[in-house]
Structure formats: structure tokens, C-alpha cells
């Protein structure tokens, strides 16, 4: 498991046209890695994420993605993701094909992918319009034992899953603590796994049941303090709710958005420079 500078890790493992899952449910969202994808001008990506959040709003608005698989696309507690909406409603900066699921379905799709299954199963009840939209890939089957009707959700196996985590040890094992979302399933479903971490330690002080990704599962890791900002890393820094509130006005307008991205993402060398520019670096 090589420890690489973030630019090199992304340049090596994220290619145009790849399916890419940056996971982390509200917590540990890999913003630094997403920004590096934008700086490297990756194109035609199929982005996968339960909650696209601000990082996919940014990737979509900067023209990196042509397809999105997701289950809830808003700015949590604030409102819309305006760049996502602009792409869907007015095809700006380019058309975006949607595949949408419920949270339960998408979590199951990752779990199926992580288990080497072609699909995951859950009970089927009333049909909703989610089963009828273009791009919906849900089907029903009968349980061979009980005859119960089941929904089959196709497995998701991203080309690359990217996570942010708290720590990596000398052997390259990675520790995640706090809200884990479907991060572990998304990583184990992927063909390649990239990780950014807050810090490197000699030995992980992990509780017995803490989530540890063993080094041999990881394609490359990069040390990026603050790499989840403006989301958060439990034990390191809290979620910057003020930034999430401020993003609404920044992203509402194409020009304000583009200017912000040019100044704060394209115009800086790395994530540390972004944190300094925003005045959050201590």
C-alpha cells in the first residue's frame, strides 16, 4: 500500500470515464480528494454517492461528471444542491444522467457489490414511481422458499472508491471511527480503494470493534489533514455548518460558483492552501 502525495494518488487511480464513489455519510466526506479530481480536470465520470453533498455539487458544476447514482441530493438542513439542479433542469454545464435509489436500496447495492453478489434483495411492498423512472434498475423476484415478493437491487462495483479516515498506521492499516455510513461496503465493493487520512501514527489505538481497513485492501493512501473539511472528522474538527449554509448563496448562481471554484480550488496548490485561504487553518 503506497503512501502517495494526493495529486499522484488521484492521477494514478482516477481516469476519465471511471465510476467513482467518494463515500462518507455527512461525516468524513473526502473533499480534498474531490478537489484534486477537479484540479486534474477528470471528465465523463460516473459519480456514485448516497448523498452527493457539496463535493458532488462542485464536481458536477465543474463539468467532471456525465452520470450520477445517488439516493438523496440536497444540502442537508439547508436546501437544494444548485449545481446538481442546474445540471438536471437545464443541462449546465452538460447533461447529467441520473440513476436514483432510496438510501436502503443504495446501501444494499454497495453491500451486494462488496459481497460478490450480482444483486441485493429486500422485501417488496407498494410500487412507487421510483421503480418506473428512466434509469431505474430495480426488479422483483419471488423468494424460492416462501413465495414472498422481493425487490432486487443490482450490485454496485465502483472502479474506485475514495474515503477519508482518521488515521493510518506504520503498516498502512486505516482506522475509521464515528458515523461510518456505507463507507466500508463502498470500499469493499470497489476495484481500487484510495484513502486520505488526518494523520499517520505508529500504531492504531482502535477499540476491538472499530472499523479498520487492512492495508492490503488499499491501493494508495495520502496524508491530508483537514481533508474532510467542510464536513468533519470525529475527534479532529466539527462539521462547518456555517460553510454549508454559506454554500447556498455561492452555488445558486453560475458565475458566483465558477468564481469561487477558480479562486479556492483551481487557484490553490492543495487542500492546506484552501484551508488557509478560508481562514480555518490554525
Amino acid at each position: 500500500m503506497p503512501l502517495l502525495p494526493l495529486t499522484e494518488a488521484i492521477a494514478t487511480h482516477v481516469h476519465d470515464g471511471d465510476s467513482v464513489a467518494l463515500e462518507g455519510f455527512t461525516h468524513l466526506i473526502p473533499f480534498a480528494a474531490g478537489h484534486e479530481i477537479i484540479r486534474l480536470k477528470r471528465r465523463s465520470l460516473h459519480l456514485i454517492r448516497m448523498t452527493p453533498d457539496l463535493i458532488y455539487d462542485q464536481l458536477i458544476g465543474m463539468g467532471c461528471a456525465t452520470r450520477l447514482t445517488f439516493s438523496w441530493g440536497g444540502n442537508p438542513g439547508v436546501g437544494s444542491l444548485h449545481r446538481l439542479r442546474d445540471a438536471v433542469e437545464r443541462q449546465w454545464p452538460q447533461p447529467l444522467t441520473l440513476s436514483e435509489f432510496s438510501h436502503a436500496e443504495l446501501a444494499l447495492a454497495y453491500q451486494a457489490g462488496a459481497s460478490g453478489m450480482s444483486c441485493g434483495l429486500m422485501p417488496h411492498h407498494a410500487d412507487t414511481d421510483l421503480t418506473r423512472v428512466p434509469g431505474a434498475r430495480l426488479s422483483t423476484v419471488r423468494c424460492p422458499f416462501t413465495g414472498q415478493l422481493l425487490t432486487a437491487v443490482p450490485a454496485i462495483n465502483p472502479d474506485v472508491t475514495i474515503l477519508h479516515a482518521q488515521q493510518i498506521d506504520a503498516e498502512g492499516n486505516v482506522l475509521i471511527r464515528g458515523i461510518v455510513g456505507a463507507a466500508k461496503e463502498a470500499a469493499l465493493a470497489a476495484r481500487r480503494v484510495l484513502v486520505t487520512v488526518e494523520e499517520r501514527v505508529e500504531r492504531l489505538r482502535a477499540d476491538l470493534n472499530a472499523v479498520v481497513l487492512p492495508s492490503w485492501l488499499i491501493s494508495a493512501a495520502s496524508i491530508v489533514p483537514g481533508g474532510a473539511y467542510p464536513s468533519y472528522a470525529q475527534g479532529y474538527y466539527p462539521r462547518d455548518n456555517r460553510f454549508y449554509l454559506a454554500w447556498d448563496a455561492i452555488a445558486r448562481d453560475r458565475r458566483t460558483f465558477t468564481a469561487w471554484m477558480e479562486r479556492h480550488v483551481l487557484g490553490v496548490a492543495d487542500h492546506a492552501a484552501l484551508l488557509r485561504a478560508l481562514g480555518v487553518a490554525a
Binding site: 455519510f25 455527512t26 461525516h27 448523498t51 439516493s71 438523496w72 440536497g74 442537508p76 438542513g77 439547508v78 437544494s80 444542491l81 446538481l84 439542479r85 438536471v88 433542469e89 436514483e100 435509489f101 432510496s102 438510501h103 436502503a104 446501501a107 444494499l108 454497495y110 453491500q111 429486500m122 411492498h125 407498494a126 412507487t128 414511481d129 421510483l130 428512466p134 415478493l149 464515528g178 458515523i179 461510518v180 455510513g181 456505507a182 461496503e185 496524508i223 489533514p225 473539511y229 467542510p230 468533519y232 470525529q234 479532529y236 474538527y237 466539527p238 462539521r239 462547518d240 455548518n241 456555517r242 460553510f243 454549508y244 449554509l245 484551508l275 488557509r276 480555518v280 487553518a281 490554525a282
Partner: protein, 265 residues
């Protein structure tokens, strides 16, 4: 009429909180549902079990989270479980008493749209989408819906069916095999709508003080029926309003705190 001394959001939140019995297990959404659940926990229902879809179980936040997965929820939780587990082992397995939902549109049978206004392929407004709502609507023993009542949101026909209420009514939901009980109450800024037992069509069951039936009807996009015994709810108790305002002021204070990140290397 003089100003009532509380805002529409406040009376909605207090009314929603009053619908929660102590000890119930609640699957909580962000916004008004989260405020109502925490208000209930801080007032009449100290043993209310709050589950947020981020996998935080029996969480006891002292301030309201902005997102469904703020660190505050993790730090005050009894357990944090992975997402596939919260949906499969808790919700789908039938371990949730009350699910709390909002939406952009609701119809007369309590079906909900949180996906799109207009045509799916050419949307007028693309909404955030399903999230946890379809399964909450299916599996929670009962669902509380909380949303502002306007003719644009209380519609005769949904643009998109995201989450099932009573479907077409008159037992259609039970026939679909949905294990949960469906929407027990829809709490609005006018009062409370409840399903009529035989047809499950939502009717006006309670009004806030000073609000007329005609006003509630005018805010509804279908011909709204009125329950045989229309209840007039009391104004929110002062103690509830004070607890809610304290909670909101603590929340504002917490959100104003600047973030500092230590760049070690």
C-alpha cells in the same frame, strides 16, 4: 386578531412533539421533525429513543443538528451502526414505532412526493429525492407528516410518488402488504389532518386557535373534509415554547462557533 405569541413553526413543532409518547422509538428526519423529537425528549418524553438515518441510535443531542450526521449525534448516541444495518436491522425488521416525514407534495391519501415537481425527464424543480423516506413510510408502525399547508403542496394529484401513504385508500395500503400503519397525522401550520377510518382520506381533525375551517380548506388543493368532532387545539404551553426557544438559541450559538483545523504537516 392580535398576534398569538408564537410562530407557525413553533406551534407545528410543539403539536408534533405532543404526538410522541414517552418510550417510543422514533426515526427522525432533519428540520422540524428533529426539533419536535428533541423538544418531546426535553419535555414530556425523556425516554424517547431517537434514531437518525446516519446510524446513530438512541442519540441525545443538546443542540439541534443541521445535518442528519452531525458529530453531536455521534457523540451522544448509545450506538453508531453502519447504514445498511440501520435500514435493514432496525427499520425493515420492524423496530421503529414512529417515522417522521416531510415532503414537497402530499395528496388526500397521505402519499408523498420528495423527488420532482413537473415531469421527471424535464423537471420544473428537481428536489433532493427519496433518501430514507420510502422505507420509513413502509415500515414505521406509524408515520407523522409535518409540512406547511398550501394548495401547491396539498395537491389532488402528486407529480411523483416517492413514498406510499394509503395509496388509493379504502384498504389499498394493507392490501399491498406494507407492514407499517401509514400516516397517523399530518401536522400543518393550520392544524392536524387525520385519515378517515373507512376510506383513509385525510380530513381536518384539529385546528389551532383562531384558525377557521375555511382558511384550512382554502390552503388545500382537494375538497377537504372535516371530522365529525373537530378539535380546537390549545395554544402551545409556555413551558414547551420556552424549551423550544432555548434549544434553538443553543443551536444558533453552536453553529456560530468558528472551526479551526490544525495542519500538522
Amino acid at each position: 386578531m392580535t398576534a398569538p405569541g408564537y410562530t407557525p413553526d413553533e406551534i407545528m413543532t410543539v403539536t408534533a412533539a405532543r404526538h410522541l409518547r414517552d418510550g417510543a422509538v422514533c426515526f427522525v428526519g432533519i428540520g422540524l421533525p428533529s426539533a419536535a423529537c428533541n423538544l418531546a425528549r426535553m419535555t414530556h418524553a425523556p425516554r424517547l429513543v431517537l434514531i437518525y438515518e446516519s446510524g446513530t441510535v438512541a442519540t441525545k443531542p443538546t443542540v439541534l443538528p443541521l445535518s442528519i450526521g452531525d458529530g453531536e449525534l455521534a457523540e451522544t448516541a448509545t450506538a453508531i451502526v453502519p447504514l445498511p444495518e440501520i435500514f435493514a436491522h432496525y427499520l425493515q425488521r420492524g423496530r421503529v414505532d414512529v417515522g417522521f416525514l416531510g415532503a414537497a407534495q402530499i395528496d388526500a391519501f397521505g402519499n408523498l412526493n420528495s423527488t420532482v415537481i413537473g415531469d421527471y425527464a424535464q423537471p420544473g424543480v428537481r428536489l433532493p429525492g427519496a433518501g430514507g423516506a420510502p422505507e420509513i413510510a413502509t415500515y414505521a408502525r406509524e408515520v407523522l407528516v409535518i409540512m406547511k399547508q398550501t394548495p401547491r403542496s396539498f395537491v389532488p394529484r402528486l407529480d411523483f410518488l416517492t413514498s406510499a401513504g394509503y395509496l388509493t385508500g379504502s384498504g389499498a395500503r394493507a392490501a399491498s402488504g406494507s407492514p407499517g400503519g401509514g400516516p397517523r397525522a399530518v401536522i400543518t401550520d393550520f392544524g392536524v389532518l387525520r385519515p378517515r377510518p373507512a376510506t383513509q382520506e385525510l380530513e381536518l381533525a384539529a385546528l389551532y386557535p383562531g384558525i377557521s375551517v375555511d382558511a384550512a380548506r382554502a390552503a388545500t388543493g382537494w375538497p377537504l373534509g372535516v371530522a365529525e368532532h373537530l378539535e380546537i387545539l390549545p395554544a402551545p404551553p409556555r413551558a414547551d415554547l420556552e424549551a423550544l426557544r432555548d434549544l434553538e438559541s443553543r443551536t444558533r450559538e453552536a453553529q456560530a462557533r468558528p472551526i479551526r483545523i490544525n495542519l500538522r504537516n
